[in-house]
């Protein structure tokens, strides 16, 4: 053993209390770093997997009103892999336990099968059945705030008329990880509720047959990043 190594060994032995404490602090720091780094990576991977699994769109475009034929034209744009036209409509929710109405956002679901983009994760209950016009999937955080479960009803003003919507399931979506109502600046799960309803029911309620209001499509190159225009 070299003399300097011997000196180091003896000094560390003499200062073993301090050395142990310093080593402990360093070890805790390193462990914390590894833990946080692992958590950060795991969260990133989970997010990517979530977006991938539920086919989160890369590009969003909102139109006031357009015929269904526009969807085919958009699909022909170079780089567009999938186009998913849908109807999105703002509604008021005059909840009994609130003085002022909450805001809802009705999003259409295809007549058959799951949405090709921006799929919905149903945590409890089921998807609305086509032909049953008043069934909705409700955003789970809003349901928790108001103690709603599958089978509960929720009042909603659709096109100026009060409807009793039946909650058939509680859902989450990559589109609403952090749900903020249009024009809002923070998330308020008590006052804002995305809801998913069959396309036919929304079109009937808003007299929108043969047209779509909100379009979503994705490019062929990526399916995990999104922008809205």
């Amino acid at each position: 053993m070299k003399v300097l190594d011997r000196k180091l060994f003896r000094d560390l032995t003499r200062l073993k209390g301090q050395a142990f404490t310093i080593a402990l602090v360093v070890a805790v720091g390193v462990a914390n770093y590894i833990t946080l780094r692992s958590a950060w990576r795991a969260l990133g991977d989970s997010r990517a997997a979530y977006y991938e699994q539920y086919r989160f769109a890369d590009v969003f475009a909102r139109l006031k009103r357009a015929p269904d034929s526009v969807a085919a034209q958009i699909h022909d744009v170079r780089g567009v892999a999938t186009v998913y036209p849908r109807v999105v409509e703002e509604v008021l929710l005059p909840m009994e336990d609130m003085i002022t109405p909450a805001h809802g956002q009705l999003i259409s679901l295809p007549v058959h099968g799951r949405p090709p983009l921006n799929d919905v994760y149903v945590k409890a209950g089921r998807f609305p059945e086509s032909g049953r016009g008043n069934e909705v999937l409700l955003y789970e955080p809003f349901a928790k705030e108001h103690r709603l479960r599958p089978g509960s009803t929720i009042p909603a003003i659709l096109n100026g008329k009060l409807h009793e919507l039946i909650v058939v399931g509680l859902a989450l979506s990559p589109e609403y990880v952090f749900a903020i109502e249009p024009g809002g600046i923070t998330s308020d799960d008590e006052r804002f509720a995305p809801m998913w309803m069959s396309t036919s029911a929304i079109e009937a309620a808003f007299q929108m047959e043969g047209a779509f209001w909100s379009r979503v499509w994705t490019s062929a190159r990526s399916s995990s990043r999104s922008t809205e225009s």
């Binding site: 070299k2 003399v3 011997r6 000196k7 003896r10």
Partner: protein, 243 residues
């Protein structure tokens, strides 16, 4: 200003030529050395005398390449080292110069032998640590830690450490400054023994004038200048010294 002997200069191993050192203290300039010329001849034992503040330690530090002069030259075997880079100066010190200071600077967690081994591990042609300790009469204390040694013994270990790498030059800055008379004499005997037996060129700084009697040559400094540079015709053994 005293000039070096032109004949003796042929054998000067190390020499300061017209060296000045100025320290800048804010707006004030402090002149520690003012055009000092001092040769150090091969194999001699030189004593550098002078009161506190006369520039002795500054000159020794410059000769030992621990510091650089503001102006002038430092010649080692004719080569100017006053403008050498850090790496070159480090190699010069490592290969050629041994230092002994007033305070011993031993590593407390290493034994006497290990303190010397610190140097011998990085030297080109070192003595064995045991041999170096034998030279200073501490063979029986080689496994003792500094705290187990007296001041004089620690200084002897420091001398053994300085000579263990077999330097050409040994520079001692007040080696007896922290010691009592009897212990100081013992340390001076060791320095004298190293100078005689190994032929190491030695310079000893002191403010004790009687110590000059053991030198081959005595250089006196005063106010940053060489006041005198004389050869000692009646050199005495350290044990004959008193102060």
């Amino acid at each position: 200003m005293p000039q070096p002997n032109p004949n003796s200069e042929q054998s000067a191993i190390l020499a300061a030529h017209d060296v000045s050192k100025v320290y800048q203290m804010g707006d004030v300039e402090v002149h520690a050395l003012r055009g000092v010329t001092v040769p150090l001849y091969e194999g001699e034992l030189m004593v550098l005398l002078g009161p506190s503040g006369s520039g002795k330690s500054t000159l020794l530090n410059i000769l030992g390449a621990l510091d650089v002069p503001t102006s002038g030259q430092v010649l080692y075997r004719g080569r100017d080292i006053s403008r050498a880079g850090d790496r070159e100066l480090t190699e010069f010190r490592r290969d050629n110069v041994g230092f002994v200071f007033q305070f011993y600077n031993l590593v407390p967690s290493l034994t006497a032998r290990e303190n010397i081994a610190l140097v011998t591990e990085i030297s080109k042609t070192p003595l064995d640590p045991g041999e170096a300790l034998e030279l200073v009469g501490l063979t029986d204390r080689m496994d003792h830690f500094p705290a187990q040694l007296s001041g004089g013994e620690q200084q002897r270990v420091a001398i053994a450490r300085a000579v263990a790498k077999q330097p050409k030059i040994l520079l001692c800055d007040e080696p007896t400054g922290a010691l009592d008379f009897k212990t100081g004499i013992r340390v001076l005997e060791v320095i004298d023994e190293v100078n005689r037996s190994l032929g190491t060129t030695t310079a000893v700084i002191t403010h004790h004038a009687p110590i000059a009697s053991m030198a081959d040559r005595v250089v006196s400094l005063s106010d940053g200048r060489v006041a005198s540079d004389v050869t000692n015709d009646r050199k005495v053994s350290p044990h004959e010294l008193t102060w």
